[in-house]
């Protein structure tokens, strides 16, 4: 029935279905507004943790930290991800979106949930941090808002799955779904598990806060809550890896080195990534070493293996594409001559490097059962996850947004000069921010803590001066990163709401056209490695990967050595 509701974007060749397009726009706009709110909270929180400024009073600090955590980690990320899911199904498969009305219902629930939750936090009766650990009570609307949001997001996931079914039935494509859609499917599957766990833990907690249930066990709560809290990070990982592949394809015309390897790597995510929720429970009472080791290692680090594979194949595919264009000198000409002034590419590449080198390595190290003893709940932890979820996911989504402004919103990117610098400001500011936090955490500085000088405590404690210096560096770098974030919001808001339309025509009214398979691989003369070196198609990427591994091994060893200096315990 909904034929003739399509248009084709002349620049990108993508085909948009009108209802899907409206939904994507709505989700993306809400996401950016949330990013703004979370960003304002970030500024105030950062200025409070910067010891020389120590801006807010304690109650405000804990309130805004709660607001920052829920808005950023849950509302910004998942709202944007639903837009990505619709893009990867309806747009990439050239298919109508299944049940747009139900999708709008999901959108409405998400929006209401965001408002209800934020109102509860703003009232000052829900400063419990996003984790809302029982038995610390919050205003019931805090949980209710999260539950409504989760139900809305779950509806989005099912609309995505239904669209895959429609596309297959209506044969809009042939063969297998595109790799990027497969990555989105991975994110969707993880999201279903995440949201279901969220419902299992938050609905009883909500009833408890209303007085219908009188006890919630703290240990049980933590297990199930982290199936929500950590798995939602894994949605982000799967989604931003999909975005990396998409941008490599869009900017360079890169093709995956091998469909099989990349898809199996996503499959390892589906099966094992979510086990890592155990990262948060490594020093909890009563859980056995077997449970901890099996789960924290994603069953023998199979999901880490998968990330290391994506970390090679994404830049590797770019290298192969660049070499095919003749950039074959030395190991790195392909990288030097990449379009560093294009924020779509530079943001994506900084996201990849920051996620791997800072977020990935620190995550595996602190997720090691015993090493967690020296890291749990120190400010090292937010240091780690700002590298994954901010440099990794958020920056990847920002890059994608620069592509979506002209294609999805049909607007020219405003302030192109600022946009060009934005990924650098954000990425480099955040890198320095996360490294300073990791350093301070290694010195024992705590997370979620208003006063590292302990001025009002009967028993004092003094951190070494270097810990204060590192927290100062964190403050300065955080402000730089926030500036980068503010530029992003300025550019998107001005482009989308006040910007000039793109010149080319793209109007609705055509019926769907069929999606073509990729062109067959042309094996270069002399075999696959001919444009590379040593028989490797992507030798430069391989050298980078070895460099990554060397740092990984070194840092891993250093942490075991540090652990060995701690009091013996068993």
């Amino acid at each position: 029935m909904s034929d003739n509701q399509f248009r084709i974007c002349p620049e990108s060749g993508l085909q948009f279905h009108k209802p899907a397009e409206m939904l994507m726009r709505a989700h993306a706009v809400v996401a950016v507004v949330i990013l703004l709110i979370g960003g304002i909270a970030a500024l105030l929180v950062t200025l409070t943790r910067w010891p020389a400024i120590h801006l807010l009073p304690a109650d405000r600090f804990y309130q805004l930290l709660t607001m920052h955590g829920t808005n950023m980690l849950i509302f910004w990320m998942i709202s944007f991800e639903i837009a990505v899911l619709y893009f990867c199904s309806s747009t990439l498969l050239r298919c109508r979106l299944a049940t747009p009305r139900i999708a709008w219902l999901g959108f409405a629930l998400m929006l209401i949930g965001i408002i209800v939750n934020n109102a509860a936090v703003a009232s000052g009766t829900a400063s419990v941090m996003m984790t809302s650990y029982v038995p610390m009570p919050a205003n019931p609307n805090f949980y209710l808002g999260l539950i409504l949001f989760a139900v809305g997001a779950l509806i989005g996931c099912f609309v995505f799955l239904a669209t895959l079914v429609v596309a297959k039935d209506e044969k809009t494509y042939e063969g297998s779904i595109p790799l990027v859609t497969f990555g989105a499917l991975t994110a969707c599957i993880i999201a279903v598990f995440t949201i279901a766990s969220g419902a299992i833990v938050l609905i009883p907690t909500w009833l408890w806060s209303l007085g219908y249930i009188n006890h919630i066990d703290a240990a049980m709560y933590r297990i199930v809550w982290w199936a929500l809290g950590h798995s939602s990070q894994q949605i982000n990982v799967a989604a931003h890896v999909a975005v990396w592949y998409a941008i490599a394809a869009i900017v360079f015309g890169a093709r995956p080195l091998s469909e099989k390897v990349s898809r199996v790597a996503f499959f390892l995510y589906i099966a094992f990534l979510q086990l890592a929720s155990a990262h948060h429970l490594l020093v909890d009472p009563g859980l056995s070493a077997e449970w901890k080791i099996f789960n924290t290692s994603y069953a023998m680090y199979l999901a880490v293996l998968a990330s290391m594979v994506h970390g090679l194949t994404v830049p590797g595919s770019i290298e192969v594409a660049q070499r095919a264009k003749g950039l074959t000198n030395g190991l790195f000409e392909w990288l030097r001559k990449a379009p560093w002034g294009n924020p779509i590419f530079s943001g994506m590449f900084i996201s990849l490097i920051g996620f791997g080198f800072i977020g990935g390595i620190s995550g595996v190290v602190m997720g090691t059962e015993q090493i967690n003893i020296i890291i749990h709940n120190t400010i090292y932890v937010p240091g780690h996850f700002h590298a994954t979820v901010v440099i990794g996911s958020t920056l990847a989504f920002m890059s994608l947004t620069y592509f979506l402004i002209p294609t999805l919103f049909r607007k020219q990117v405003a302030f192109p000069g600022l946009a060009k610098w934005q990924p650098y400001l954000f990425g480099i500011g955040m890198s320095s921010f996360t490294l300073a936090m990791m350093g301070a955490g290694t010195l024992g500085v705590e997370r979620r803590h208003w006063d590292m000088a302990f001025t009002n405590s009967a028993l004092g404690f003094e951190y070494p001066a270097s810990a204060f210096t590192l927290m100062g560096i964190m403050g300065i770098s955080g402000v730089v990163a926030i500036l980068g974030g503010a530029i992003f919001i300025l550019v998107t808001v001005v482009s989308v709401f006040f910007g000039k339309s793109v010149e080319s025509e793209s109007s609705y009214g055509i019926s769907a056209t069929r999606l073509m398979r990729a062109d067959p691989v042309v094996v270069p003369e002399g075999g696959h490695g001919a444009a590379g070196k040593w028989g490797f198609a992507a030798p430069g990427t391989f050298v980078l990967a070895l460099f990554f591994l060397a740092i990984f091994v070194l840092y891993y060893a250093v942490n075991w050595k540090y652990l060995a200096s701690v009091w013996p315990m068993s």
Partner: protein, 183 residues
């Protein structure tokens, strides 16, 4: 643009890998397995392993045990609130509790001796963070965790609460004093 298009081949499963991928997968797999086996290895040969010994308890029962120890082994009091400093005999069961916003009691250990340190919470969740030695664990109400520790440095260690526990969270400190052996 093939990552956003269906694969060129209808059957892509049988396509050969490039050498760069095969080599890297091999290296990464070896490293993954190494990291995995490092954890059981440390359980056998390493000295820093958190025990999984834990019990279900109630705030009242745990408070009673703690108070019995305090009554028996207090050696002095500190601060305006007259917090007891307890010096339990080496090898004994030592009870520490976290509550809003205090660690109770203060402890005094002897360097090189081993203690069975029990920790639980009377109310909300707390975090046990011993600084500067840097040992961190999660403390839950209703559960009593037991770790067998051997302080091998002398001097003053501070217990900082590192789980958010309300408005007084950042004031929640405690102490473990470690004296030189043989005193």
């Amino acid at each position: 643009m093939s990552a956003i298009q269906p694969p060129a081949e209808l059957v892509w499963w049988k396509q050969p890998l490039d050498k760069v991928e095969g080599t890297w997968i091999g290296i990464a797999l070896v490293w993954s397995l190494f990291m995995f086996f490092m954890m059981p290895f440390w359980h056998i040969y390493g000295k820093q392993n958190l025990s999984s010994e834990a019990y279900k308890t109630t705030p009242q029962a745990y408070m009673a045990k703690t108070q019995a120890m305090v009554d028996q082994y207090t050696v002095r009091t500190e601060t305006a609130a007259q917090l007891p400093v307890v010096r339990p005999p080496p090898g004994s069961d030592v009870y520490l509790l976290g509550r809003l916003w205090q660690w109770y009691p203060l402890l005094e250990f002897e360097k090189g001796q081993t203690y069975r340190l029990h920790i639980s919470s009377m109310d909300w969740q707390h975090g046990f963070s011993l600084q500067p030695v840097n040992i961190n664990t999660q403390i839950l109400p209703g559960y009593e965790m037991v770790m067998t520790i051997t302080p091998d440095t002398s001097g003053e260690q501070t217990i900082i609460c590192n789980e958010f526990c309300g408005i007084g969270h950042h004031t929640m400190l405690g102490k473990i004093y470690v004296t030189e052996g043989g005193q």
